[in-house]
Symmetry: C2
Subunit: 190 residues, 2 copies
């Protein structure tokens, strides 16, 4: 059972205006995916949050009401799908830090999941949004793995400089809020 | 909001022994996927059931208790993942009928999702378990689409004969409960 922050569990997300520049990362990615789907470009979806249902009330015929349930630890990453015949898999995270992305924001099994995906021919990466900087980067699994492994012996985060050097900035747009497939087109052999 | 049968919403599934021969399709597929994952063969997972969370109680620090939530209609299919570099996507269903699989068991958007997947280079299919016959078939999206389309003007189900003719039986095993990738190897160009 996991204690998710309120943001994840409430249906209507209210963001604090002080700590970001107006972009809700999840909403931006979902909107972008909707654009890809509507325009027959790619079929990438956010997986539902896994919930352990304990008790269901059948008060009315129309809707079963879940009256006791708990959040579970996700086994994989948040997003996956297909683009130009390739399997796409990624995790998306925000950070309030202006200098680095703390590794504790990613589960170990999510890193090994990304490794497995890439080993088997898929494209795996993370998208990290520095909310106070208004910058968003895509970082390939290769670097995520490398930086993840060093946390036992050294730095426990990925620095902004490392994102700048090895990642790819995704510029925010209007029609395509976060056009990460543009990066995929430029960086990966499809 | 969807009213799922009790089987889907309870955590410990108790199956009626009269209506099946001992195979819980979802459990069999999950066990098979676990085998594929443990043996580094394929990374295919069941997506969590989408749930709309309305109310969360923070009684203890350790676990947030969801006290009001409802089932949502899934936007896609139940299972997806990667095998030998290919994107795999399918829906799994059981039927008590001995003669045909009723089309009402599949949502229209699930059929169009499978079409999109195949159009973009993925492998899409359904797995149907005839519980009273103890038989399980894999049927490619091509036939699912064809049979789905005729439901407006003709038959509203896929007959057992059609599964025998155009589908591929998946034999139940012990180590690999339902080795559907064996069919994929035989039938699809990987």
């Amino acid at each position: 059972m996991v204690n998710y922050p309120i943001k994840k569990s409430s249906t209507n997300t209210v963001r604090s205006s002080a700590s970001n520049r107006g972009m809700d990362l999840e909403a931006a990615i979902n909107q972008t995916n909707d654009y890809y789907i509507s325009n027959d470009i790619a079929f990438i979806y956010k997986k539902p949050i896994p919930i352990q249902v304990v008790k269901v009330d059948y008060l009315k015929r129309s809707a079963a009401k879940i009256s006791e349930a708990y959040y579970k630890v996700p086994s994989t990453t948040d997003y996956n799908g297909i683009y130009k015949g390739r399997y796409i898999d990624f995790e998306a995270k925000e950070t309030n830090s202006k200098t680095s992305f703390p590794m504790k924001n990613i589960h170990e099994h999510q890193v090994s999941h990304l490794r497995n995906i890439v080993k088997h021919g898929g494209i795996g990466f993370i998208i990290v949004h520095f909310s106070k900087l208004g910058k968003t980067f895509l970082l390939d699994e290769q670097f995520v793995s490398e930086y993840y492994d060093r946390k036992e012996s050294g730095r426990k985060s990925i620095t902004l400089d490392e994102f700048v050097e090895h990642g790819h900035e995704i510029k925010e747009g209007y029609v395509k809020r976060l056009d990460y497939l543009k990066v995929i087109d430029q960086v990966y052999t499809l």
